[in-house]
């Protein structure tokens, strides 16, 4: 299944090529045009079959999902043959300790090894190390050897493999569900037909500030946009009296407002109606958390009415995340229903 390949593909922000290639192979026969822009966004057009609904202009819909994942970049090798690095996107040392990584397109294996507990002072145990205190061990013993194997600037990702955990929710685990899950949904949606021009943007560098989406939207000039994401699913027991941000198994999550965008209420209503018409479960994401490509898209040119639909995913931005295939499939169904019903409500926009 494509989610497995997408999850295991190597694509930290700034180096999305392997993911782009994979997606291009998967969709090129389903679309009428594809192009890659200056930043590396993959923009594809699926021309509408039949006329779009009437109104001021023909309907031009943009769907976006970002190809990049959080990762690391080698900064230098030290005299002992260990590699030091920076993080790419939102990663902290908290989730890097004792993790295997792969470096470069050749996926050179390495491990981020922490100091053994036996040798730590009490004060060390109470703090998190800084990323600059960590190093990747590839089994090299000299600076020259390490530099040759992974020169400055080499990208890296976690080495997590995809697997099915099963159960009623058909949960799966893997890295980079943020946002390969969104990419998987978008690839699926491109397999269907729509009565309007559908532009799909597989964007780059979302994790560095929604950068690919901004230029892709400028190029496409959509009238309406949906960002497809994987979003924080925090159901772990906590002390505060607050409902979870989203819950696994409760269906696609519709964003009302996050830190980057206040979603267009008309589109939210439309999504809800589309869900209820087909009996598709859905939930609302707790407001105020996170940011997505819609944050950039909705402010392009004179503005674009935008919404965000996400697959709930636990432990995003760490080495291994978890989601339910039932939720993923319902996300595809919800979007399909919403898109097919879009022309009718479009005239009111």
């Amino acid at each position: 299944m494509i989610l497995k390949e997408l999850s295991e593909a190597f694509g930290p922000s700034g180096h999305e090529r392997p993911v782009r290639q994979l997606i291009l192979e998967a969709v090129h026969e389903r679309v009428d045009r594809h192009e890659v822009d200056a930043l590396g966004n993959l923009i594809v057009l699926k021309a509408g079959s039949g006329r779009g609904a009437g109104g001021r202009q023909p309907l031009k819909v943009m769907l976006s999902a970002h190809m990049d994942e959080v990762g690391i970049m080698v900064t230098h090798a030290d005299k002992d043959g260990l590699l030091h690095f920076d993080v790419v996107g939102g990663l902290g040392s908290r989730t890097l300790l004792a993790q295997p990584v792969v470096l470069g397109d050749d996926r050179l294996p390495g491990v981020i090894g922490p100091k053994p507990i036996h040798l730590q002072e009490r004060s060390e145990r109470e703090k998190l190390p800084k990323v600059s205190d960590l190093a990747i061990d590839i089994g090299a013993t000299t600076q020259e050897e390490a530099e040759k194997a992974a020169p400055k600037g080499t990208y890296g990702t976690f080495a997590t493999s995809f697997a099915v955990l099963g159960g009623d929710l058909r949960t799966v685990k893997g890295k980079a569900f943020d946002d390969r899950a969104g990419c998987a949904v978008l690839v699926e949606l491109l397999g269907k037909e729509y009565p309007f021009d559908l532009w799909a943007a597989f964007t780059v560098q979302e994790e560095l500030g929604l950068r690919g989406a901004r230029v892709a939207a400028f190029r496409i000039e959509p009238n309406v946009a949906f960002a497809l994401e994987a979003t924080v699913c925090d159901q772990l027991p906590g002390d505060e009296d607050r409902s979870p941000i989203t819950e696994l198994g409760k269906g696609p999550a519709i964003t009302i407002r996050d830190r980057s965008v206040v979603c267009d209420p008309r589109l939210i209503k439309h999504l809800v109606r589309a869900a209820e018409a087909e009996g598709i479960p859905y939930q609302f994401k707790q407001p105020g958390v996170g940011g997505t490509d819609a944050g950039a898209i909705h402010l392009v040119k004179e503005g674009v009415p935008s919404a965000v639909v996400s697959v709930p995913s636990r432990y995003i931005h760490s080495s291994v995340s978890l989601l339910s295939l039932v939720d993923l499939e319902n996300t595809v169904r919800l979007m399909e229903s919403a898109l097919l019903r879009l022309p009718d409500m479009w005239s009111t926009l």
Partner: protein, 357 residues
């Protein structure tokens, strides 16, 4: 004997202290190829005997490496997640984001997670999360979880063996399965050599929770010499040099109160004679290994300690050099090959009145 594949099998198998069944099968399968007899004892130690040339009852040496690993145990089902405690010394900072297997009614793959960073206060974000703020998630709803998991179920870290460069490998449980592999290598080398003393190769249990397997196995065997093979802190930048041994420079031969000086001397002599790269490891107090228990069994046992250099101890990415494991096995075989009556007498040598201090 292929060290890499045996180490891979040992490392990937689940065997937390007290729950070493799968380890036993693997070890019996491997030791059995080189030994005359293999049995297990009441605690689950695997004891293999390779007889020496001495006719009838004679001196014997015991080699011990522990096959248990540190792990976790379920303490509570909370909603659809599991609270847990550690078995053996684990740094909670290295648990977040690790994949695990919960050994419930069936083996359930899962991961260790926590609340996302943005729900924590700024102060909390800079500190590591203690074990009680971590949860195991196997991706099942509560009803299914209840049917499959209960308090007390053992949890192991899931880590596939990783081959790095230059014969360096990384994985979980190399403490102390690297030693079990070294012992197997020693037994395979002994098939090409003569040795007078009999050899008891023991894969001990429950070392991580108090050297327990070593206590009972040494008692049964009553060896003339006992050597514990464990892992030592491989030198890594940022680690005190005084507490470390060098990677890829061969086994470290321990010296200190836990080690009989004549055993130390004989090990060093064997290494030098056979030109096996080796180092000396000063151990000023308890060695934290089976040697500490072996030494005070019955009326006392002359003990030795060999440490295999290992980085990132007690994490899921422990790293060793395969060459160091082979050198350790070869050193042990060479040492055993040289054991004779002279050495036996030297161990029991009594001081004479009037001799110089």
């Amino acid at each position: 004997m292929e060290v890499v594949s045996f180490l891979r099998d040992l490392s990937e198998a689940a065997g937390v202290s007290g729950y070493e069944e799968f380890m036993r099968e693997l070890v019996i399968g491997q030791f059995g190829q080189f030994a005359d007899e293999v049995r297990t004892d009441k605690l689950g130690n695997v004891i293999a005997l390779k007889r020496g040339d001495t006719q009838g009852p004679g001196p014997c040496i015991m080699l011990a490496g522990h096959m248990d690993e540190i792990g976790l145990m379920v303490t509570q089902l909370k909603e659809a997640f599991l609270h847990f405690t550690t078995v053996g010394g684990i740094d909670p900072r290295v648990l977040l984001g690790q994949e695990v297997v919960v050994h419930g009614r069936r083996d359930l793959p899962g991961m260790i997670g926590a609340r996302p960073a943005h729900v924590l206060s700024q102060a909390e974000r800079e500190k590591p999360l203690p074990v009680d703020k971590l949860f195991i998630d196997v991706g099942l709803p509560r009803e299914e979880l209840e049917r499959l998991v209960r308090v007390g179920d053992v949890v192991t870290i899931y880590r596939r063996f990783i081959e790095l460069r230059n014969g360096w490998v990384a994985g979980k449980g190399f403490d102390d399965r690297a030693a079990v592999a070294a012992i197997a290598f020693c037994l395979s080398e002994l098939r090409r050599m003569r040795h007078q003393w009999s050899v008891y190769a023991v894969a001990t249990v429950q070392e991580e929770v108090g050297l327990r397997g070593a206590i009972t196995s040494t008692y049964q065997i009553m060896p003339q010499v006992g050597i514990a093979i464990d892992v030592g802190f491989g030198l890594t930048p940022g680690q005190p040099e005084g507490e470390s041994i060098k990677m890829d420079k061969g086994p470290a031969i321990g010296f200190g109160p836990n080690i009989h000086p004549k055993v130390h001397e004989a090990l060093v002599k064997a290494a030098e004679a056979l030109e096996i790269p080796h180092q000396i490891e000063p151990v000023s107090g308890p060695s934290g290994t089976d040697a500490w228990a072996m030494q005070v069994t019955r009326e006392g046992i002359p003990t030795g300690l060999i440490s295999i250099p290992l980085r990132y101890m007690h994490t899921s990415v422990e790293t060793v050099v395969i060459r160091d494991i082979e050198r350790t096995g070869r050193l042990l075989a060479g040492f055993i090959n040289r054991l004779d009556e002279t050495f036996e007498r030297a161990l029991c040598e009594q001081p004479r009145v009037g001799e110089a201090m």
